[in-house]
Amino acid sequence: MQLVCPAGNLPALQAAIDAGADAVYAGFRDQTNARAFPGLNFDDAELRSGIGYAHARGRKVYLALNTYPDSARLAQWHTAVDKAAEFGCDAIIAAEMAVLDYAARTYPAMARHLSVQGSATTAPALRYMHERFGIARAVLPRVLSIQQVERLCEGSPVPLEVFAFGSLCIMVEGRCQLSSYVTGASPNRHGVCSPAKFVRWEEHDDGCRSVRLNNVLIDRFEPAEPAGYPTVCKGRFDVGGEIFHALEEPTSLNTLELLPRLAQAGVAALKIEGRQRGVAYVSSVTRTWRDALDRYRAAPQNWQPQPGWQPSLSKHAEGHQTTLGPYHRSWH
């Protein structure tokens, strides 16, 4: 299995490669990708430089072009595809049909991976993307159980990539409008979820803190309580008079213990989430997974998680908690 790691900027790209990533994924500094955050991503020179760094070490660079352009902005996505081809990206990761179609017709030799944002959860859906746009790989949404992933590996026309670690979107990717309902800014159209400019923290006299997203109260924290980033899906709300994380707790996905099953199912690649995270995260998480994959390759029968792995991963998890998420039936 290939290890695909996040690169939010050039230092992170180099750190991921140095720590043993087989491939990294990156995006341009605009709304053509789903992590269009201030201060993140690559300009042309940085991307060229990153590709050079990776290729010199025999690794790959995938370009995330995984947002949904409206008609008036489609040309900007075409230009991004052009640059990906010109700079020598090994693949683009795209979700939207017009982008995939343009890439397939214009640069048939450049591989097209279906992004998680493409929301393909079944064999027919994957068949559609394969027959229509010749995708070479698909990244599965984080909604399927391990049994469903195993079955899909059998029926898919293309190799599959699954999320292994990182922040957990609990909604089907590419089809969540919670951010845009509150702020007008959406992952699909603008490459952002709950953008920081809409976030307002309030300190109260009793030491409590409240956090609002475009004036909507997402959560309130006791003085010593850890407070996470306020996305709608990880806030606390009132349902029937009870206050709780009605949608999901702040927690990260961690599938380390499932590694053998994913490998046996024929999963082609494991993806680490986190282009918005820094060099320390990328280095440490990549190194742990590299070690886990290498040990599995060397002795699949004897593989078991090493004592240091889970604590090291938990340190980098949201709220320092991890979950098997939808892979495990009880999460549902």
């Binding site: 949904y68 352009p69 409206d70 008609s71 008036a72 939207e96 049909m97 017009a98 179609d101 929301s119 959860t121 079944t122 027919p124 859906a125 559609y128 993307m129 229509r132 909604v143 399927l144 159980s145 469903q148 609990i170 909604m171 089907v172 590419g174 089809r175 969540c176 409008q177 919670l178 845009s180 309902y181 509150v182 702020t183 007008g184 959406s186 699909n188 159209r189 609002r212 475009n214 004036n215 909507v216 109260l217 997402i218 959560d219 309130r220 899906c233 606390r236 709300f237 009132d238 349902v239 029937g240 009870e242 206050i243 009605a246 949608l247 999901e248 939808p326 039936r329 999460w331 549902h332």
Partner: protein, 295 residues
């Protein structure tokens, strides 16, 4: 100019069998032109099974309405694919395709389909590709407002193509998100696999408010909706000018006959009707919900 059509969107909630059947038998007498039938949210909801929905579609078709069978927005299990295959194989109705699996099965069988709001179409080129696959009508996703549709239509016409029939969500709570997790089961502290079909107790969804008590969202099984019942009635003159062919009204538990009558009157009138629901911010290029707090 042709009068706009009215449609009843698929029932998003879970109602008891008799209530559902009674609702649709009444709807057969309402001045709606199109009725969407079927389960779009959760495959465990089986007060009406696939066979029942197909039979109901055949029965209601006799009333002269166009019947469309709607597919699940999120398909995970083989059994759910089997249901989809049966809807497509029935062959008597168009399908509302709410995910790519449905698009592909319709394409393979040559069955015409309506692209539902949870299918991602954001530009003229994607629309043209799907029209090659059998798309006959398009219900844009919730975040697409007037400006985006205007630009998209201009691009379609500039390509020398024609627009498919356009259907807008004119009334109802907006579907915002889907998950593998059932939020109703979570709120009631029961496992999804032993949920007891408790969402049947919430015929308009389970209200979720902020910690300061402001109504915010509706929990509806694996789906999250906005709390507000949006209403594009006051925008009818603009919708007409934009060439919107169908106004979609989503079933709510109470008062649907009056809602249909309201829109039936409005579609025949040159002046826009008063609003009966909340302003849809998305239509104006703003956040979908009404500004909160001091804004």
């Amino acid at each position: 100019m042709d009068t706009m059509k009215l449609s009843l969107g698929p029932l998003q909630y879970f109602w008891p069998r008799e209530r559902t059947l009674a609702f649709y038998r009444e709807a057969a007498q309402w001045p709606v032109d199109i009725i969407y039938l079927g389960e779009t949210v959760c495959s465990k909801r089986r007060e009406l099974g696939t066979r029942d929905w197909i039979a109901l579609a055949a029965e209601l078709a006799a009333s002269g309405k166009q019947m469309v069978l709607s597919s699940l927005a999120l398909i995970e299990a083989e059994s759910e694919l089997g249901v989809l295959q049966r809807l497509v194989d029935d062959g008597h109705c168009w399908i509302e395709a709410n995910d790519l699996s449905a698009v592909q099965l319709c394409r393979e069988r040559g069955v015409p389909f309506v692209a539902g709001p949870s299918l991602n179409i954001y530009n003229h080129h994607a629309l043209a590709l799907l029209m090659e696959d059998g798309l006959r009508r398009w219900v844009p996703g919730v975040e697409q407002g007037e400006v985006l549709l205007r630009e998209l239509r201009a691009a379609v016409l500039a390509d020398g193509r024609t627009m498919p029939e356009l259907e807008l969500i004119a009334f109802g709570r907006l579907p915002l998100a889907y998950s593998a997790r059932c939020f109703t089961a979570r709120a009631l502290d029961v496992a999804k696999d032993q949920c007891g079909f408790r969402c049947i107790d919430y015929p308009d969804g389970l209200p979720l408010a902020t910690r300061e008590g402001k109504p915010f969202l509706r929990i509806n099984g694996i789906q999250i909706q906005g709390e507000e019942i949006t209403d594009l009635g006051p925008e009818l003159p603009v919708l007409r000018e934009l060439g919107i062919g169908v106004l979609r009204l989503y079933p709510q538990a109470e008062g649907m006959a009056e809602v249909v009558a309201h829109f039936d009157l409005a579609r025949r009138s040159p002046t826009p009707p008063p609003h009966i629901g909340a302003r849809n911010g998305y239509w104006h290029g703003e956040p979908g919900m009404r500004p909160a707090g001091g804004a």
